[in-house]
Symmetry: C2
Subunit: 471 residues, 2 copies
């Protein structure tokens, strides 16, 4: 398989473990294991979605310890096999925890190629294809939301994207903060809803703004930010000497999948001259959510001005090509992983129409699930879903019709954790649960995967009933 054996024969004697031929054989064998364990068995309903082990037992099974000497190839392949076996099959049709939406082979091919090419998105010099490709993917994403201009970056996740947004908004309001910091500035305030993602608070802490300066805006019964409450809280904050500068809205909240009313919030932001940010981190396009998130802002060149450090050892000013192609100084990272290829290849494969069809399909399945729930006795919806998040309580037979009992809520709170434990230990299914405000533990089924069928939805309901019937 190698065309350069001759060149590396000299190496082989002194350096056996980086021999290309042996290495490529190992990679080939690993690829076979990935195909069989992760992509065939791992997406097959005849196999478990997870192979639950207690942490101590799993640590023993995996023999994780790192030692002084290396191991032979056959043993390493067994390790690859073990890692695959005991990992959660997030592409399995019975994996209905949040965040993952089945496998997409074009995206996965793009990810393999990205890993093999192993480059870094900071200069055109080392990433000519990806500098141009990232710009095109960002342009395409902007077009989807109707913007004709803007700038952006792929960031390592939604939390980082939210922090970028805060930092850029802060820089726009107070450019001197980049050099002088927050010391001496008035207290800055950020506004977000009680249902927004926790990364808004984490980001505020990290950026030196402080979690107390994240003002929580009330939500309506559907989990959507109330614009009037936002307006009042901004006015109140100003009267107390703080400087509001940033409103973080959410399109598709984490738990309920609610959409804040952007038009009305925009009016409030306009009135008070605040930066309006929209957090849209839901991975409907089913690539890895860790990496899908992009960030767009409408102010050209602000990214670079806000984040540049002009390091001469990377962004030399006497290069022989257009320096605007060295995008690295827009980022707070130096090395930045290539995240655009998987989305680009997927987009080329299915087109915007294909994306739209997938979203439609996910909505259809979510609607089907809700209809079926209404036909069954034990399922109680938290609310009518606005998005693909279907939140519900399962009421075990013994508790039905007893809503008036004093310990009803306490008992209900204990149902979801037990069902979850059972499904994981049996490996039949995975779905998330959580409390929210004064609502005790409820399940959150997020229907992202275009691979899910009505049969999967029926199985889901049957399985919850089976696991919870004696509670």
């Amino acid at each position: 398989i190698s065309s350069n054996n001759e060149y590396f024969y000299g190496i082989k004697k002194e350096w056996p473990l980086v021999d290309h031929t042996e290495g490529q054989l190992f990679l080939n064998d690993t690829f076979k294991i990935i195909m069989e364990e992760v992509l065939c068995k791992g997406t097959d309903i005849k196999h478990k979605v997870c192979e639950w082990k207690e942490p101590k037992e799993l640590a023993l099974l995996l023999d994780l310890e790192l030692r002084a000497t290396g191991e032979p190839q056959h043993r390493l392949l067994q390790r690859v096999q073990d890692v695959a076996k005991y990992s959660i099959k997030t592409s399995h049709p019975r994996f209905m925890n949040q965040q993952f939406g089945g496998v997409d082979y074009h995206a996965l091919a793009g990810r393999f190629l990205t890993e093999a090419l192993n480059t870094n998105l900071y200069t055109y010099e080392v990433a000519p294809v990806f500098v141009l490709m990232e710009a095109e993917v960002l342009r395409g994403l902007r077009q989807l939301v109707g913007w004709t201009e803007g700038d952006g970056l792929f960031c390592p996740g939604g939390s980082a994207s939210n922090m970028y947004a805060m930092n850029i908004a802060r820089y726009q309001h107070f450019p001197e903060v980049k050099s002088q910091g927050l010391c001496g500035l008035p207290r800055l305030n950020i506004f977000t809803s009680s249902d927004s993602h926790y990364s808004v608070k984490k980001g505020a802490a990290f950026l030196g703004i402080g979690t107390d300066n994240v003002i929580i805006v009330e939500v309506d019964e559907g989990g959507r930010m109330i614009p009037d409450d936002l307006d009042e809280k901004i006015t109140l904050a100003k009267s107390q000497g703080a400087v509001p500068f940033f409103v973080s809205c959410t399109s598709g909240t984490t738990v309920r999948g609610a959409f804040d009313p952007l038009d009305l919030i925009a009016d409030v932001c306009e009135k008070h001259k605040l930066w309006m940010h929209v957090d849209v981190s839901h991975p409907v396009y089913n690539t890895n959510p860790c990496l899908l998130t992009s960030f767009c802002c409408t102010v050209l060149d602000l990214l670079r001005k806000c984040h540049s450090a002009n390091a001469t050892y990377l962004f030399q000013q006497d290069k022989f090509y257009d320096l605007n192609l060295d995008v690295g100084d827009k980022s707070v990272q130096c090395s930045r992983k290539v995240d655009c290829l998987k989305l680009w290849l997927m987009w080329k494969a299915v087109g915007s129409i294909g994306f739209a069809e997938r979203v439609d399909k996910a909505f259809n399945q979510a609607r089907y699930l809700v209809e079926q729930m209404k036909k069954r006795e034990g399922f109680h919806l938290l609310q009518e879903p606005e998005f693909v998040n279907v939140c519900f309580w399962f009421i075990p037979p013994s508790m039905r019709g007893k809503e008036g009992m004093a310990d009803y809520q306490d008992r209900l709170a204990k149902v979801a954790p037990v069902i979850k434990e059972r499904m994981m230990k049996q490996g039949t299914m995975m779905v998330g649960y959580q409390p929210l405000g004064n609502k005790v533990n409820f399940f959150r089924m997020v229907v992202f995967s275009p691979l899910l069928t009505q049969k999967d939805m029926d199985f889901f309901l049957d399985e919850i009933e089976r696991l919870g019937k004696d509670l």
Copy 2:
């Protein structure tokens, strides 16, 4: 290849592009292209290290535009081929730009498996194998530096790691900053050397500390921080009302590969009670530098206290396993990519001894290169290398012996950019250059790859001579 065709036949009709059989064929074909283009030709000296194209020409060749409709598989495979062809071959023996050190097949196998498993390092629930594995890899890394306890995380790069360190140090000095922010606090000061990585300043800006509050400490002739200057600048800062809290040292600086004198700096930090951080981001172990970086701190549980948000929708308190295994709240990210598997598999393959041998080998090649340079007329070392960074000027024949001329430095500054342009346009080799302080453009050859041979070093020198002989 698929064991679940039956299950998905129903899907195929309505949803052709997510058919498993077709998808796996595509992935298989992509894998073959990766093997041939990236791993065989891309590491073969008979092929170019880069296929230079002007940005406009490349954009046309790649047909990047994203459209409404999808494309057939054979066309997508051609795109995979094109992306591979026009990307830089960072594993090529002639790629001597900073940061990449050849291909490691075990690491790459680990990366493919990571991508295929597509999970997220926040809870034991979704990443049982990787939660335990990351802890073990971090323990192993701590052991390499002689620590018996500590905590850590894999972060998306060295810049993020430096920011984590600053944030934790700030939290240790002023725990209230997490909730209240920097408003009302005195001006905080960070100290780092003039040769440190630019991420220290970027991080200070991002964290609201401000770049002016990064006090630059002088370096000696070798590029190492001068502890006496640090001591004086800390004292001066205090006298001016600032609060020093953080010293960022570097082991292996970006350009010169210098090592700050940690023992002496530790004494200064001890005296002033400052947090001492060591930035060690050099990717000697040749996995992707974007992802290799880990962060360790000696104070147990500070990571969690500093960064936690206790989101109940993710870190439910009534789970059926030990909640300490849900490591996500130590991070400022929510979704966090799995970065430990590639390093773990590599470590299992070669052992700590294998790592040490690779480092030795890189040092040996760097020494050989320096010896050979001294034997040739046109190479002028910036200094004796302390690490594997070999910094040098190439003096073209026409300039030799003319150091006294008025425009000598101006002319010398123009040599490296021209040679770099020529090597990239011919695709024979890649190596970085930059100015540093009052030193005009010089080449920086970083010898990371254990695959490099003396023959490669000889080629490197011959090629620089060939490309620069008429300048």
